[in-house]
C-alpha cells in the first residue's frame, strides 16, 4: 500500500546544514553562481554546453558534501512531464524538417532533429533542477531572503524596495511547508470520506478529478493562513521604514575570486558551446 505524504517529494527548500566552504559563501555569491550556471544551462545549444553546468553543479555539490543522488532526486517527480514533451515532439513535425527519419509508426515519424531536441530538453531540465537543488541545499531560507535584498540593493535608488521584495521571498518560502501540510491534511480528510488518493486505482483522468475537491479548501486555507500571518506580522510592529537586520554575511577568504570564477565559467561554457557546435 501507499500512504499519503506530500512533503517527501518537495526537494526545493530542503536545506542541508553543513559547515562547508560552499555553504559559508555570501548569499549574493550563491545567487551569482546560480545565474551563471542557469543562463548557459538554458542558452547553450549543444549537448556538452547544456551538460557542463550540470557537471559543475555536481562538483560544487561534492565540495559542499552533498551526495549527487540528493541533488538529482528533484528530477524524479518531473519525469512524466519530460515523457510528455518527448511525445509532443514526435507527434508534431517541424516545418521544413529534412533530417533523416529514425523510425516511423503509421503517420508519425521521429526524425533526427526531433530526437536531438528531446535529448537537449532532457539534459537542460536535469541541469536546471540540479542547479536549483544545489542552491537550496546550500542556502537556507533566511539566506535566500537576505541574498535578494543584497543583490537588489543597488536598485534601491530607483525607488525599488529590496527589503519588501526580500520579505516576499521569505514569506513565499515559509509557505512551502505550510501549503504542503494543508494539502496533506485536506487530502487525508477527503480520502477517509471516499475520495481516491494514493489508493492506486483509476486512470489518469480519474486521478486528476479526485484532486478537484482539494482546490477550494486548500485555496481558502492558504488565504486564511496568509491573513493570520499578516496579522501576526502587524502585531509584531511590521514596518518598512528604518528596518535593521540581525543577519550579516562577512566576506569569506577568496570570495572575490569565487565570484570572478562564476563569470569566467559562464563565458567558458558559452565558448565551448560555440566551439563544439552540434555536439
Amino acid at each position: 500500500m501507499k500512504g499519503i505524504e506530500f512533503f517527501r517529494n518537495v526537494s526545493i527548500g530542503q536545506y542541508v546544514d553543513s559547515k562547508s566552504y560552499v555553504h559559508s559563501l555570501r548569499p549574493s555569491t550563491k545567487y551569482l553562481w546560480l545565474l551563471c550556471l542557469m543562463v548557459p544551462g538554458i542558452g547553450a545549444s549543444s549537448y556538452l554546453g547544456a551538460a557542463l553546468p550540470l557537471l559543475l553543479a555536481l562538483v560544487a555539490g561534492a565540495a559542499a558534501r552533498i551526495r549527487p543522488s540528493f541533488l538529482l532526486r528533484g528530477v524524479k517527480p518531473i519525469l512524466p512531464l519530460m515523457v510528455f514533451i518527448a511525445v509532443l515532439q514526435f507527434l508534431f513535425s517541424w516545418p521544413g524538417d529534412d533530417s533523416g527519419v529514425l523510425f516511423a509508426l503509421g503517420p508519425f515519424a521521429a526524425t533526427a532533429r526531433e530526437a536531438r531536441l528531446v535529448a537537449l530538453a532532457v539534459i537542460r531540465t536535469v541541469s536546471l533542477m540540479t542547479i536549483v537543488g544545489l542552491f537550496t541545499a546550500t542556502t537556507s531560507e533566511g539566506e535566500s531572503m537576505h541574498g535578494v535584498e543584497d543583490v537588489l540593493r543597488p536598485l534601491g535608488r530607483l525607488g525599488l524596495k529590496p527589503q519588501r521584495l526580500a520579505l516576499a521571498v521569505g514569506v513565499a518560502l515559509r509557505f512551502v511547508p505550510i501549503i504542503a501540510g494543508e494539502l496533506e491534511d485536506i487530502a487525508k480528510a477527503q480520502a477517509s470520506r471516499g475520495a481516491d488518493f494514493g489508493s492506486g486505482k483509476g486512470g489518469p483522468i480519474a486521478k486528476a478529478k479526485a484532486y478537484l475537491p482539494l482546490f477550494v479548501p486548500v485555496t481558502v486555507r492558504a488565504l486564511e493562513r496568509a491573513e493570520a500571518m499578516a496579522e501576526a506580522m502587524e502585531a509584531r510592529g511590521y514596518s518598512e521604514e528604518g528596518r535593521t537586520r540581525l543577519a550579516s554575511y562577512p566576506k569569506r577568504r577568496g570570495e572575490t575570486f569565487v565570484r570572478i570564477a562564476a563569470l569566467l565559467a559562464c563565458a567558458a561554457i558559452f565558448a565551448i558551446d560555440r566551439f563544439v557546435q552540434g555536439l
Binding site: 471516499g194 489508493s199 500571518m229 501576526a232 540581525l246
Partner: protein, 611 residues
Amino acid sequence: MHLIELEEVSYLYPGAASPALSRISLAVDEGEYVAVVGANGSGKSSLLRLLDGLRTPTEGEVRVASVSTSREEGRRAALREVGLVFQFPADQIVSSSVEEDVAFGPECLGLPREEIRRRVDSALAAVGLEAAKGRPSHFLSAGQQQRLAVAGVLATSPRCVAFDEATAMLDPAARRSVLGLMDALVASGVAVVHVTQDMSEAARARRVLVLDSGRLVFDGSPAELFASGSPRVGALAAIGLPDWGTLAAMLGLEMLPLESPDGLAARIAAAYPAPRAGPGPRGDSVRPARVGPRPREPGADGRGSPAGALAFELRGASHSYLAGTANEVRSLSGIDLAIPAGKLVAFVGRTGSGKSTALQLLDGLVAPTSGKVASLGVDLGGRSVDLKKVRTSAPLAVQRPESALFETYAADDVAFGPRNLGLSGKALVARVSSSMEEAGLGYEVFRDRRTRSLSGGERRRLALAGVLAMGGEALLLDEPTSSLDPATRRQVMDLVGRKAKEGVTVVVATHSMDEAAAADFVAVFSGGSLAALGNPEEVFYDLYDPAWEIGRPFAVEVAIALEDRGFHLGSRPLDLRGLAAAVGASRRGAPPETAAGRPSAGGAEDAGRLR
C-alpha cells in the same frame, strides 16, 4: 496612570449586523494579571485586537500609555507596548529559522545589530529555547512554536503581553509551560491579559473579566466571581466552573478561587469524618497496585471485554515521516495494539507522541515503514488491498476537520462521502439528514446554510456529520473537541458516547483526561511507543507514570490525595460525580452503589451548573 484604558468602547466589524463589543470600559495597570473569559463569539478576540492597536474602536476610545489608538502614533505605541500571542502556533511564525523569527520585531524597530542579538538571546533564554536557536521553525512542536511566539513578542520589550487562547491547541504539558511563562512575566512586572475558555486557567489570574455577547458582565477577582449566589455567574453557564469549584459545590463545601487537589482533599477529609475502616471491600484501594507486565491487549485477560472480534490490530508497526530523506523523523516504533470491536478507545499522549500517526495507520492513510496493520479484518499490507473500502468503513476525522469543508452549502458537503459510496436519490438524502441530525445540526435548518457562515462549533459538527455519513463500522476521531468551548465540547463528546453505545468501534485521540476517563480503554503513547494500555481505572490508578506528561483527571488526583490522608473511598472514581458519590458513601459507611460510577464525560460540568 493606567497602562491601558478603554472608555465606552464599541466595535462593529465592517458589514456585521451587531457589534462585536459594546460600551466596554475598563483599565489595565502595569504588571496586572487579567483573564478574559466568555463563550465562542463573545468578543474576547476583538477585545485583544483593540488593546493591541490592530483594530481601532468604532466608538469610544482606547488609550495605551495615555495616547489614543485612534491616532496613528497611538496605534504604533499600542502595537509596541502590547504584544499579542495567537491561538494557532504556526500562524504567527514569520521566518523559517527560530533566531530570525525572534529578530523580526527588533528588526522592525530599527535596533542596531548588537542590540538585536542581545534581545534575541535573552528572549530565547526566557522561554527555554536556546538549544533550538538555529533550527528550522516548522520542525518545532506546537508547544515549542508557542514558546517561540512568546519569545518573538518578548524581544520587543512590551509592557503587556496578551494571549489569545494561546493554550487551546496545546497538550497539557505544553499548556503548563506556557502558563508558567505567564507567571514569570507577571513576576517580572509585565502585565498579562489571558483570553481563555478554561475556567481553571482563568482562576490563576488576579482579576477576571467575563464577556457575554460583546458586553462586559463581570470585572473582579476570581473569588468574587465564584462566590456562591452571585447573580452574575449566570454568564458562566457556557464556560462552567473549574473542577475544584464543581466538586466543592457537589459536596456542599465553600468554593475557593484556586485550589490544588491536595488542598481540596484536606478540606474534604476534615468535612467528612469517615469511618476509618481500612481498605474497602475486596481490598479495593486507590493506591497503585503495581502490576507486573503492562497489559498490551485489552480483553486478553478476560477483564476488559468478552474476547470478541478485533476491529484493529497493529503488530510491530513502525512509521517514519520523510523516510529516506535527510529530515527523516520516526513517529512510531514497534507498536503492538489490538482494539476490540464495539469499544470506545482513547489515545492519549503528548503532541508528537504518535497518536495521530497511529490513527492514520489504522485508516490506511499512512503506510507502516515496517510491521503489520489489520483494519476491520483486512491486512493493509496485502498487495491487492482495497484502501478506499478500508478508509470508508473506518472513516477518520482529522484534526480540525472543518478545514477540509469545500462545498458552498452544508448538506452538499455532508453528501460528499455517501456520494463516493455510490448513494443517490432518497437514500442519499436520508443518510445526509440522519447524520446531520446526529451531529446536532437540524437538517431542515442547516441544509441550505452556507458552510462559511457557520460558527466554529457548527463547522466542526458539520465536518463530523460528513464523517458519520460514511456509516462506517468504526470511527476514528483525532482531537474532535480541540479549541471548542465547553458547551460544544460536551455536545461532541455526547455524540461520541452515543456512537459507541450503538456498537460502533470508536477511537478518539484527545488531550483531555476527563474524556479519556470516559472511554472503555486508554492507550498511552509516549515518544512513539505504546507506554500503557488498559481500562481508565488501570491506566490512571495502577500504571500511571508522570513521565508520560499527560496529567490525570482532577477526580483521580483528589482521590489519591484523600487516600494519602487515610480517607478510604472504597472505590476508584474517575470523574467528579463518581468521586462525590464515593465521598458521600464512605461517610455513611456503606459500600458505594457502583464501583466507579462512570456517567458521560460531561456529567461533572452538568452537575456544576445544577447548583
